[in-house]
Symmetry: C2
Subunit: 390 residues, 2 copies
């Protein structure tokens, strides 16, 4: 097992001050007096607060970031001792659960305690975000607030899409852990084992190597490719001629990797080898195209050209990569019409895939950070030849 | 490692037909022509569809259950091959992601294809539910639909709160796996190890024993008790006199266990032992009180009496247990004013806890299924004397 340098867990108060300062510039642009967030990745982004307790949907949690003053945590009493360990100075609690008023009046008075310049408050109402509170409570809050509640998602994504150096080191660390585990996998498994058993071995190995969790690990196999890449594992035993596809979103200190690997079970068809090679080259092209100033459309086209030439008959994924960070997938998307300008310190997946015959799909994926000196590979690049399982 | 009988994964078509039939009776009572669900546990409840891909918030998924006809899955193309493996016959797809119209027009026409009797459609707008789609899309749908969209949460919870026999066997299985792992833990760890390392060992052991995932595992330690029970692990090393508290929500085939265990590190104080014993007795009282016809208030009072007599100075949890199933926590809550009548085949946690000195909390938890012949313990009952770690 290779020895990895483990980044310090958590972030300094200075890091969070920097995040809030940058957020405020973007909030001015979007004309928001405050952002109200409730979803775990957004709460964590501004506070550093971490809890697996998000699994319980009973109690809502809120953070209000205004244009000035300290951000405020408006949270259930049960979370106060741990929130007090973060950089947050202003923590307001109520004794949840209280169905009649689960934090809403406290949230309202908190929002109203911030100065009103634009008369607009941004909430998580838009794309790639889930509000983590009853919608009916948001509507009630909207009706009772003198400011307008508008969709804050574009503003929040503009803030989160560009990562800090410390965030990138977190993502790099989990990418290295998963890369090592992927490389070690063929020696641990053999034909005849089920997808489910293989995923379990890899999950355990990734935990041993220092990952905190593995919320995402589809493992799918099929002769020369797979029909889909997001569900499974099933109890299917891998066999000669299969491609075994495994993807993982594992985490370190809240930050995700998101990349896959393909393995040949014994000897695979010439067609599958040819397509695999084309996708390896498409990945190279996608990585090379992801430079500051280019758009996600450019990155899409760089890969798409090679995929089309290799004889793609389809791809049900709908895009060729995306952002990642505190979530497995984040904006932007590499697809025509997305039009996001790529900036320094974005972290992106490069994910070319194609169906080359009905039900036979192959998909590659790597994770990169954008720098002004060219893309920085965070994953250990997949070998050009598929590793073989015997 | 004890050998557990593993329940069959998934459920029969007959099981889902039964769920839908029962749901329709409850929908009539709530005057809904259809329910529209988007959250993973609700989609899974009606379809059996499972995917770790829920981790990606990019694409919404919907299921529409009407008062007659087949339920309809309205989903991104990427999910169609796997949804086709379920009992669902009517699957409608769109090529997501498409920010301009991510399934909303298809969802609208699907809802409108069902007969209109009450003119009301239920959506996940209420308590203990998160809508998994942009709120702005729901509001757009609401404005364009001729039927009213109302809060369907009370209706959905009435459906899901009572489990089928097959659901209970799933929960029982993961409870048994976690019980065995908890029992085996003291032999694997010792004073001086950190909470984080201990949680990692337990997480790996639970995976080895057959759990699919462990989304929730706070591990917290402190002299004679802990300050909170939902965050952590941290890098604190456990030491003589500590109580090590570990809770887990692990899953088998989508279903959660949710129970904790307490361990004494060497010799703990007499006070801690006394409180621990009172909580063990409160658990007995809570289990005994959870019978069909009683209310959650009754269960609360049965435990609360013992807790108060033992000298509780507080409890920031806000309730003494709750429902569980496809989610770590579900309604009802054992708290005054909840007022839910306990029914056969509910699955509940019994979770008495108390702070007996500032920052010193002890909490017990077991999982039970309600039967007409008395409560059925799904977990292996915690020993009355705390297991000791040396």
């Amino acid at each position: 097992m290779s020895i990895l340098q483990i980044p310090k867990r958590g972030f300094s108060a200075g890091e969070f001050e920097g995040r809030v300062e940058r957020a405020r510039k973007i909030m001015h642009k979007h004309k928001f007096d405050a952002l109200v967030v409730s979803a775990p990745p957004n709460v964590r982004y501004f506070t550093g607060f971490d809890s697996q307790f998000w699994e319980s949907p009973t109690r809502p949690w809120f953070v209000v970031v205004g244009l000035e003053g300290d951000p405020v945590a408006v949270i259930p009493e049960i979370g106060a001792p741990e929130m007090a360990l973060t950089w947050m100075k202003d923590i307001r609690t109520w004794p949840a659960p209280v169905p009649e008023d689960d934090g809403i009046s406290l949230l309202k008075s908190t929002i109203e305690s911030f100065p009103k310049k634009y008369g607009r408050v941004g909430a998580e109402m838009g794309r790639e975000m889930s509000l983590r509170m009853p919608v009916s409570d948001l509507l009630r809050l909207r009706d009772s607030l003198s400011s307008e509640i508008a969709d804050g998602s574009p503003c929040i994504w503009e803030i989160r899409m560009v990562k800090t150096a410390a965030e990138i080191e977190h993502i790099n660390h989990i990418c290295q852990i998963a890369s090592d585990a992927y490389e070690a996998l063929p020696a641990q498994i053999s034909a005849g084992e089920t997808e489910r058993e293989i995923a379990r071995k890899l999950r355990i190995d990734i935990a041993r190597r220092g990952a905190d969790a593995t919320p995402f690990m589809p493992a799918i196999s099929g002769p020369g490719g797979v029909a889909q890449i997001v569900c499974g594992p099933h109890d299917r035993a891998i066999q000669e001629g299969d491609i075994l596809f495994i993807d993982t979103g594992s985490t370190f200190d809240g930050y995700f990797c998101d990349f896959d690997r393909n393995y040949a079970v014994g000897k695979i068809s010439d067609d599958a080898r040819r397509v695999h090679d084309a996708l390896w080259l498409a990945t190279e092209a996608g990585i090379a195209a992801a430079v500051p100033g280019a758009t996600t459309d450019d990155v899409f086209r760089a890969m798409s050209k090679i995929i089309e030439e290799a004889g793609a008959i389809g791809n049900n994924v709908g895009r060729l990569g995306h952002g990642l960070g505190l979530q497995l997938t984040e904006p932007p998307s590499h697809r025509l019409g997305d039009g996001t300008v790529i900036l320094e310190n974005m972290v992106l997946t490069i994910e070319p895939g194609m169906e080359y015959a009905p039900g036979k799909m192959i998909v590659h994926e790597e994770n990169i950070a954008i720098t002004n000196d060219g893309p920085r590979l965070l994953t250990k690049r997949a070998p050009r030849e598929m590793p073989v399982i015997n």
